[in-house]
């Protein structure tokens, strides 16, 4: 992602569809609903809130225009340029303009070839309105070329990092997440009237039961609180402490129309994230159309891909916990499979994941799957063995008996190649490590008790190798990784520790390894698994 530099000083932003330049081909209400959902994507990942106001003085004014329209970026009719938006600022800062000559679709279907999803473009343009520039990461929202939007859309990692760097992540409010019942049958379309006396055609999801704000003095800003801890008089299928989806599902009028019930002491208008007033059903007599087994929806959890798969927790009273993939390493308590300096940034690999550490420390959102950065790696990847950046800046990733060679994120033609093509023995199962040694600029491969010098020009190891690891005094055999850090020093890794290596004396500087987590990951010492030992 790229942060342009301008950002909003306040986080409660207002937006409006232009009163003058409205879409000539689209229904204004449907358009506002799509724009609201597009803004909601950014609201869900950051501290930003968006409130629709019917005024051209809003922070973000959305207009539909043709060809030249009073700015330096004329549109090109039904062509390749779809829309543009301005970075945060006063006046037209934050505004988004859409080419009214395009064929905009509010509910794109897969077979819509020449139409363009308004939602997909709006989410992108609002990224500009919030201060993000274009990203070269394919699949990211801020990728400049139109990509449409997948049905089970999840905000890509690259965009999440971008917006959270600017405005901070959403403050997690664990009581504000109710189980989200994914509609099995096609949602019924109904017409409802909201208090703003506008008729909204909305897609109504099954009704989800809610519970009142029992302790408004303690949770003034929260619409709902969980049950009391002892739900004795409720049917057993109610989990003791239900999870709720994010607020989107009861504040947004287009998803679920609400009316403010001022009479009830506990129901006061809350600061809604999107427009419309909030109605709260009378508590608790309404019999909810609540499925017997609420299915908690965790957007990033791959197991959620199939909504049809029933989800029955073993004990209904057991609180469904976030399922963290079993091989996801603990950042502060793990060994490393490979460590490499790539484009001046530290990459640490473990199992299917990797961390990325830049000048200002670890990037948020990591560890992340390795295949998200290098998507040509095998889908059933379990780990990598060794990684290094070659003198020609290509990135070499060794997995088992094969070398995958990347030009930044693109696998070079002809790869992966077996290790034997580089002169390594057929019997060699895997490499432990690989590095370009700063001391003499040569490349070395390590495996078990042996190491090789690799000639980058010839593309093969030298003939008078392998040699014994004893040459590298103090690191022993079967190392995990080795690399040259920015200080020009060489570092060997084994288990949860590492040695700094004296290149001149060809031995470790300290016999006793130091703890990797605190030095490389910046973890507080007490959290770094010292108990497990790391010799």
């Amino acid at each position: 992602f790229a942060v342009q530099g301008e950002k909003w000083k306040h986080t409660n932003l207002t937006w409006s569809l232009s009163s003058v330049r409205r879409p000539s081909q689209l229904d204004p209400y449907g358009t506002r609903s799509v724009l609201s959902r597009a803004l909601d994507v950014w609201a869900q990942a950051s501290r930003l809130t968006f409130t629709e106001v019917n005024s051209d003085d809003a922070d973000i004014v959305v207009s539909f225009a043709k060809r030249y329209h009073d700015d330096a970026y004329p549109f090109d009719g039904r062509g390749s340029i779809l829309a543009h938006a301005f970075f945060p600022g006063s006046g037209r800062g934050g505004d988004a303009h859409f080419d009214d000559d395009e064929l905009w679709l509010l509910q794109p279907r897969d077979d819509d070839e020449d139409g363009t999803s308004l939602f997909a473009v709006a989410v992108h343009e609002f990224g500009h309105s919030l201060g993000l520039s274009h990203s070269s990461v394919k699949g990211a929202l801020m990728f400049p070329w139109y990509q449409g939007i997948q049905p089970n859309f999840v905000l890509p990692e690259d965009d999440r990092n971008g917006i959270q760097q600017m405005y901070g992540p959403k403050t997690s409010n664990k009581w504000a997440r109710i189980p989200y019942y994914r509609p099995q049958e096609p949602p019924q379309t109904t017409t409802t009237t909201t208090t703003t006396t506008t008729t909204t055609t909305t897609t109504r999801k099954p009704y989800i039961h809610h519970h009142h704000n029992r302790h408004p003095e303690r949770y003034p800003n929260r619409a709902y609180t969980p049950y009391p801890r002892t739900p004795s008089r409720y049917p057993s299928y109610y989990p003791e402490r239900p999870y709720y989806p994010d607020r989107r599902h009861y504040n947004t009028s287009d998803d679920h129309p609400r009316r403010t019930n001022h009479h009830h002491p506990y129901s006061r208008p809350t600061e809604t994230t999107t427009h419309g007033t909030t109605y709260r059903p009378r508590y608790p007599h309404v019999r909810p159309e609540y499925p017997t087994n609420p299915r908690p929806h965790y957007p990033n959890d791959p197991s959620q891909d199939n909504p049809r798969k029933p989800y029955y927790p073993e004990k209904t009273t057991q609180r469904p916990t976030t399922t963290t993939p079993s091989d996801k390493p603990d950042t502060c308590d793990t060994s490393y499979d490979a460590v490499a300096l790539i484009r001046g940034e530290l990459f640490i690999f473990k199992n299917r994941y990797h961390w990325r550490i830049g000048a200002r420390g670890r990037y948020s959102g990591y560890p992340m799957e390795i295949t998200r950065m290098w998507s040509s790696l095998p889908k059933n990847l379990t780990h990598v063995d060794a990684v290094y950046e070659r003198p020609d800046r290509k990135i070499a990733i060794f997995i088992g008996k094969e070398l995958y060679l990347f030009d930044s994120q693109y696998l070079l033609p002809g790869y992966p190649k077996p290790l034997r093509t580089f002169g390594l023995p057929e019997s060699l199962e895997k490499l432990d490590a690989a590095m370009v040694w700063g001391h003499n600029g040569n490349t070395y491969f390590y495996s078990g008790t042996m190491y090789w010098k690799y000639d980058e020009e010839k593309g093969r190891v030298d003939y008078d190798y392998p040699r014994n690891m004893a040459m590298w005094k103090g690191v022993g055999n079967n190392i995990d990784s080795v690399f040259q850090w920015k200080d020009g020093k060489t570092y060997f890794f084994k288990g949860k520790g590492f040695w700094k290596f004296n290149d001149l004396q060809m031995q470790v500087e300290n016999e006793r390894p130091s703890l990797s987590a605190s030095f490389w990951m910046g973890c507080p010492v007490e959290r770094t698994g010292r108990r497990a030992g790391y010799r």
Partner: protein, 96 residues
Amino acid sequence: RSRPTRSAHHESARGYLETFGYLKKGRPEVGNLLLVDSEQAYEDDFRIAIKTLQEFGGIPVTGEIDEATKALMKQKRCGRPDREEDEEQHGHRRKR
């Protein structure tokens, strides 16, 4: 219709590169008076701009206006430049 001559492709590519911030607007010769062979400098700039576009768009980096590049330039996209102008003028590094 006769196949567009190479300069036509060249011109439309130049327009595209200038629109989306890969190439400075206007003939660079004016800016390169110090160089002996400004045409060569312009060709280099043009080639670099094509490579930058190809890398940004995630297509093979050849430096040539090949088929993949032509297709990319026809694809629907956002109207904002990929490389913001102020970055060029002030040359300040934009946080990535």
